[in-house]
Amino acid sequence: MRLLVYLEHHEGELEKGSLGVLSKATALGAAVGVVLGPGAIELAVRAGSYGATKAYACEDELLAAPLPQPRVDALATLVEQTGADAVLFAASILASDVAAGLAARLDAGLNWDLTDLVLVDGELVGKRPALGDTVLVDVGWKGSPGIGLVRSGAFDPVESGGSAEFESFDFTTEDFSALATLVEQTQEESSGPSIEEADVIVAGGRGLGSPEAFSLLEELAAALGGAVAATRAVVDAGWYPYSTQVGQTGKNVAPKLYIACGISGAIQHKVGMQGSGTIVAINKDPNAPIFDFCDIGVVGDLHQIVPKLTELVRSNRA
């Protein structure tokens, strides 16, 4: 099985999500990496240490801006020239557009939001959650190649210390691919990630007792490099902004770690965060429904536990 893995990069580093997909592909067959854009050659060389047997790179001008359509051209050319049974992407705003454009270009099936990939009788099978993460669906592809978009963070990168044969390539471009142009690009020095992007979320509910208690959560979130979220009840009460509301009438989030403080776990909130990787709940009430679906449940006073945890996280990081 020959799997082509799109390796996205930013500021001279290959993205962790892409490396995770590459590591997974290595376990499934012959994994080949492809890096596009400025600095691609240097980055492609590194793909070997994550299991790629070969790495392709192209630094064409047309790939300078983070735009999808020239990348579709590049990958389409590569697939036509070298063949692949599957083309895999770690989902990102850019990668998703590239994957779908490539699917249309190659008339190839696309399965997205994959959380796992396995081989069944030599065929690639993907697994993806559906219906708000309440069922897991096995999906397959007909024809070749099959294109897969893997959910961000589904696989962890594994360094195997190998090296990859490197090859540079050129591609033919379509007349419309370069029509969209990047006018301006701004890197934001943000005060932390938004709740939609954060890997870690510290959320607060009525159990906080007062809006001031949110400062405890902010400290913990800062120590963990995460974002602060809130339940509908406290947003209604004006304790925290609506943009941080998680739940049925707020946002849906699925971070790797969700720490719920003083949150009872009513279903209106649950549906907004039940896809989170690990859920830690801290609540005074031992009967709170959240204890039925969290991974780690602590019955206790968050006003004591949260500051202590913040301190421990900080000293651990130091």
Partner: protein, 565 residues
């Protein structure tokens, strides 16, 4: 002891009545405006559609939009909830010559029925009382029927306007000239948001109010035109669930008794229903009068308690809850009916006007019947070239109601509900007497008392409620979720309620409300507490209106999105 009625909010009919305020050329003109896409409103619309189709010359006089039905729910059916076992006669009549019962979405005729008298550990089968025999009736989902009737109405050229709440009755010179629709896009304090869309004056030659239980404009109209009946209106609250079950149920079940307490002092009157909906679904519901006196009385929790009985467990076991909903049912019966069902430019139809057969727990077929009669009366007036705003022009509606079989049935059972004021057994005996004598004995008019006037007491009612487990026994919040309610959080509060009350009143509201809208707040001293309100939970059942507050129509399109109820 505290009584909710002592804390009635500052809100009266005057807030729901006014004159048109839009500039003339911005008013929306329709021929006949019907408020409510329920069985009553849609039957009226369908019958009008049929008659106007047969008489194009009359239709022409009604302008570009001859008939419009305004519905506050997301779509017809979103706010409809009932058992339901329905007498098909009025449906057949409505569609005579056009459709048969086979064309109408139902779950078929009642396959068989049982009535049980329950106690905690037993269920004694008793012969169905004559008022509860359902042979020949059909089982259906009212929400489903609403969607179907709306399609039929649209096919006849009726404009069905969902997400449109009617918030004011427009009255000029003693005549109803239409209704005003509610604003949309206001924030919590009523401030206009970026999406603010003001309501409109909808002016019509004739307005038909078919709002169902707790009809907002109906109540205002009755007060405005002095149409009050002899007895004050009273209500029961029904809470129901729909379950997908592994084993089909092959009969309808009604129960009386447990978990309700029989002694008169508790004021607990009601019972349950369990109906099959095809082979895969079953609906189970509990109905109880809102004069129940215990502060902790909660129909939702009584339903959960009821489900723990072996009889019910055997039916639902292995299944999965797929829907939940709640709605009040008008219970005053004959003596609470308004003394007239029409006023200049106005007709009152269905449950909003109190037309419900309480002992049979049936009102859907009456709604359809009265809707049809209203359409025919309106048409007669139009055909004669009369102006329906002339006093007396619509009297033929009242006449047709009073000479209908429906009226006779209502009269026969007129005191049956009130008989239960003295408790289950005394009531039962009286009810039997009434049934046998077709209402002639005991004679006289039994009074009703407003639900909110019942003094509250504490008897530890909540101790018997089972704990929610999220699989068989459910809490209120997850039930609100199961109703499809996704009301915007920052909508203005549509519930007019005094928020400084005696503690028992606040507690009673907290328990009573099936959607957990009210919570006891801070202690304010002197036995008074504040009341915390979460209006976005509200499923618009109307219980608060019966118990000392006032439900007003919230922003159109909000509230539950029932599909199976």
């Amino acid at each position: 002891m505290a009584r909710p009625i002592d804390f009635a909010p500052e809100f009266g009919a005057a807030d729901a009545v006014g004159t048109p305020t839009d500039p003339r050329d911005e008013r929306i003109e329709v021929g006949i405006a019907i408020v409510g896409a329920g069985p009553g409103g849609l039957a009226c619309a369908i019958r009008l559609g049929q008659l106007l189709e047969e008489h194009p010359e009359v239709r022409e006089r009604l302008g570009d939009v001859p008939v419009a039905v305004l519905e506050k729910g997301k779509q017809p059916g979103s706010h409809l909830l009932s058992g339901a076992v329905v007498n098909p006669r009025p449906l057949r009549q409505l569609f005579r010559g056009r459709l048969t019962m086979a064309d109408i979405p139902t779950y078929g005729e009642v396959p068989g029925e049982s009535v049980y008298l329950m106690s905690r550990r037993s269920a004694v089968r008793i012969p169905p009382p004559p008022t509860m025999r359902n042979h020949g009736n059909v089982i259906l989902s009212l929400s489903d029927l609403g969607r179907f009737l709306a399609e039929q109405a649209e096919a006849l050229g009726v404009a069905v306007l969902p997400e449109t709440a009617a918030t004011k009755l427009l009255v000029e010179h003693g005549r109803v000239v239409g209704i005003r629709t509610g604003d949309r896009g206001r924030g919590r304090e009523g401030e206009p948001l970026s999406t603010f869309e003001p309501g409109s004056d909808v002016v019509a030659g004739l307005t038909v109010l078919a709002e169902g239980t707790q009809g907002f404009l109906t109540g205002a109209a009755i007060e405005q035109f002095g149409l009050e009946g002899e007895n004050p209106q009273i209500w029961a609250l029904g809470v129901k669930e729909v379950w997908r079950v592994p084993k089909p149920l092959r009969r309808i079940v009604h129960t009386m008794g447990w978990p309700l307490r029989k002694s008169a002092g508790y004021g607990e009157f009601g019972g349950s229903f369990i109906y099959p909906m095809g082979d895969e679904l079953v609906t189970v519901g509990f109905v109880a009068g809102l004069e129940a006196k215990d502060v902790e009385f909660s129909v939702h929790d009584v339903l959960q308690e009821f489900k723990t009985h072996r009889l019910v467990w055997k039916i639902l076991r292995g299944g999965e809850r797929v829907a939940w909903g709640a709605k009040t049912i008008t219970e005053g019966g004959f003596h609470s009916l308004p003394r007239r069902f029409n006023a200049p430019g106005l007709l009152l139809v269905g449950e909003g006007a109190g037309i419900v057969n309480v002992p049979r727990l049936k009102g859907v077929h009456y709604a359809i019947e009265s809707g049809r009669l209203a359409a025919e009366a309106a048409f007669r007036t139009l055909k004669r070239g009369e102006v329906s705003s002339r006093v007396g022009a619509l009297d033929s509606y009242d006449e047709s109601l009073r000479s209908s079989r429906m009226w006779k049935e209502l009269y026969e059972v007129r005191n049956m509900r009130q008989a239960f004021d003295k408790g289950f057994f005394v009531g039962g005996a009286k009810a039997s007497m009434m049934t046998v004598t077709k209402g002639r004995m005991p004679n006289g008019r039994f009074p009703t008392h407003p639900n909110s006037a019942a003094p509250l007491m504490r008897t530890g009612r909540a101790s018997s409620y089972p704990k929610p487990d999220g699989k068989y026994v459910f809490d209120k919040l997850s039930s609100v979720f199961a109703s499809g309610n996704r009301t915007r959080d920052d909508q203005p509060n549509h519930l007019k309620v005094t928020t400084r009350v005696r503690r028992p009143v606040a507690e009673a509201w907290e328990w009573m409300c099936p959607a957990h809208v009210y919570e006891v707040g801070r202690d304010l001293g002197g036995g008074m507490v504040s009341v915390e309100i979460t209006p976005s939970n509200c499923v618009q059942c109307g219980a608060i209106t019966a118990k000392g507050g006032q439900l007003t129509p919230p922003e159109g399109g909000s509230g539950p999105e029932y599909t199976l109820t």
